[in-house]
Symmetry: D2
Subunit: 147 residues, 4 copies
């Protein structure tokens, strides 16, 4: 377990595994972790930015444009998964978030998602200025240059 | 297995059970059957009324206001469930649909759902006249009187 | 909002609606409430009986054999739903649970589920004696006679 | 839209988007594509290897150990997504599958998953010899060397 990088501004979301998340292998079906990531980044925004509800009320969404997950161990019914979340970088209209999922002191999975801000019609929009300034202060590193 | 009542106008929707629908009991989690019912009634509308997409494009939805399911047997990964669906009754703004779920010639579950037509704001609306007339011809029996 | 009947032994499970629970009508998809009921009855067992995990470790499950839900109002992203849960009756191998779902002091839905105790092979088994005695003390009324 | 590489042995799985797959942005929630990938690779095994059911009956599973998805466009209710699937490489106990998701002749997403063969206890097992030989013939390229 590596933990988040030095300097990362983290939140920790605790998720207790529901029975309906398990599959016939007796473990949490891998598709559910994608939903845990959503819960975790909304938790991060709650703690460090603003409730996602406020974005949504303004018709703005951080649409997921990339997702990757490495699964290291399985989890089962009633396990508590801690999802450690941090903002890796932010740019004018996108951001990149990283996650480490931990259960019983072992790393269950690591993951990353990239998001583009879009409006109700699905068109890309710049992140509102005050939010962008706040997020830039919290990001671990500058956003990559667009070539 | 009783099958649909005499006179019922049915459709049969075949659903092959996905692995992600199973749970740690090794069977299909009971919550998934609710989704099978949705697939089945959209299939029924396709065959006997109009694609649900057309309702949705007009901002109309058959919101579910009541649902009941009796579970008789379990199903498992890769089973094919046949959902036999018919319209029990229709009224000005609501309808009642019944279902029998069958697998390997055995009745897996029976179910019923009641729906109210609502607009985008969630307000109850009358079913469009041409649709209501069509549905009334297909219903098994007259809608119950409202007391 | 009627609230639970006099004498009911309740637990209250708070569920914050996730974005992935919403649908294109902008509200919580009706199938998700079935999952909320599962979370709520596991919460009730935690508080009043024993963790469901202990049943599962013994290869015992309360399989759902009947479910009914009446939907009164919609809920949306980030709403907090309180699920008030109580045990209506218990018999040798089955029990009946009732639920009231509340959001912003309004009744969102009422529901009931019936469960049969089964083993790993899905065969009906009597509820273990100590659990049955405990549950009978907590039930609102005696189980119906089997005809 | 690039399409699969030359020499890829593909299957095409057609998935009609259900209403319950949409979210409050009015589009398919990104977590559902993970489930489409599972449907698509089971379809690929059906056509080119053996039904996944046979693996499962032997207590063998291709556990997902890595997943990545790039989302290019959204899809909505009642769209038909074609998932083009091919086996990129296979090794003694793992394989790597790639996917292109297409809707209305446009590329919706590209994805890749890596799987390790595990037994009922979750321990890594070699792919059965006859299956491994078959899969090696179908793979686009040799598996990467393990360092």
């Amino acid at each position: 377990m590596n933990g988040p990088p030095d300097g990362a501004v983290v939140s920790i979301h605790r998720h207790r595994v529901a029975f309906f998340e398990t599959d016939a292998m007796g473990i949490v079906h891998h598709s559910n972790y994608v939903r845990h990531l959503e819960l975790a980044r909304i938790h991060w925004l709650d703690e460090h930015d603003q409730p996602y509800r406020i974005y949504a009320e303004q018709g703005l969404h951080y649409a997921t444009i990339h997702m990757e997950i490495d699964y290291h161990r399985s989890t089962g019914f009633d396990d508590t998964i801690e999802i450690v979340t941090w903002l890796d970088w932010v740019r004018g209209a996108s951001m990149h978030i990283e996650y480490e999922l931990v259960c019983d002191d072992a790393c269950v999975a690591t993951a990353a998602t990239t998001h583009a801000m879009v409006n109700r019609e699905g068109h890309v929009r710049r992140i509102p200025r005050d939010r962008a300034e706040n997020l830039k202060r919290l990001a671990l590193r500058p956003g990559p240059k667009i070539l």
